[in-house]
Amino acid sequence: MLRKAARRAAAALVVLLVAAVPALGGVDQVKLRLPLKPKLPLRGNERIALAPFILVTDPEKARDKRLQNVDVQAEFHRFLKKQLEKKTKFDVIETPPDVKLPTQNLADLARAQEFWAAVGTQTSAELVVSGSLEFRVEDRSGYKTEEYQSPIDGRTYYRQVYVEQTGFVFDIVFLVLDGRTGEKLLQDEFKDFRQTGSRQRDELQGLFENLFSLENQILNTFVPRDREAERYIFTD
């Protein structure tokens, strides 16, 4: 009888304490939606030409024969054209098939002002998009510390980035060029890693998982987007 009473008392105490904790104060995590301004100040209705991208090939690629079946260039072009047409008001066109990149070096490609001006004239595009694409299998794991220096207070912060075991990596370097002058307007890198459940995971599925997770960032080059952020607020 006494034990029963003691148990009931303990249960009542736990319930009361649980009820009392929020009322006594502390910290809560809240979610905000933050706007992201487009990286390029545009009117929003420009004519954009999608030029070929440099394909970065990994010497280890031969080891993973599955990737040889993926036409990264064609899949990326199709994805980018579809997203830009669906989510922006740009007039999106592809450069004619006879347009060949003058170099396979990204730095030189960004500097090929005459070539890009010629592409702009040929396509009547105000902007030309090119860059490099790399799609590969990555086998790594562990925590990596990344340094981040705040330009606001000049202090250095550290963040932990966990690199998973096996997965597909899609590394895109985006070049946006002025179709009139051929001048480079923007160079940006988008990188995504998707862990695969097993080595047998379909490579095309992996590629699109990478692309969908990068979609927001890619589109944010041209149009405003938003993203979710977490913050701490005090309850008293």
């Binding site: 006594l24 992201l36 301004k37 105000e126 705040s150 606001i152 912060y157 307007l185 701490y232």
Partner: protein, 122 residues
């Protein structure tokens, strides 16, 4: 007998915490109410409450932090930056405020950065 005492004590603690809502002149009351509405997504109302808290207790780092978050959620980033800085000035060792500020700084840097301009752009 002992159980009765414990129950009464717990009830007193809960009741004491709840009565804070009935004291609007206290900064902690404004913070508590602001947090309640913030969780419902009513950020402008929350910002108003936290402003009240800051007015009542200008050296309360928690109030400045909450106000910064509410201003950030309402899109007033310049003021949010000033409030985060003030909160850190008052309580530089508070990890929650430091984390908030670091995340905000990362976002704000990207937000204020605009790269390049097309020749036909406005």
């Amino acid at each position: 007998m002992k159980l009765d005492r414990i129950v009464v004590l717990c009830l007193l603690i809960v009741a004491g915490a709840c009565t804070s809502y009935s004291q609007p002149e206290k900064a902690s009351t404004q913070i508590a109410f602001g947090t309640k509405v913030a969780k419902q997504g009513l950020w402008r109302e929350a910002a108003f409450r936290y402003e009240q808290a800051v007015t009542k207790a200008p050296d309360n780092a928690r109030a400045h932090n909450n106000l910064a978050v509410a201003l950030e959620a309402s899109g007033d980033f310049a003021r949010a930056l000033a409030e985060y800085k003030r909160a850190l000035e008052i309580d530089p060792n508070n990890n929650y405020i430091r984390r908030n500020y670091a995340r905000f700084a990362e976002f704000y840097t990207a937000y204020t950065k605009t790269t390049g301009k097309a020749s036909g752009a406005p």
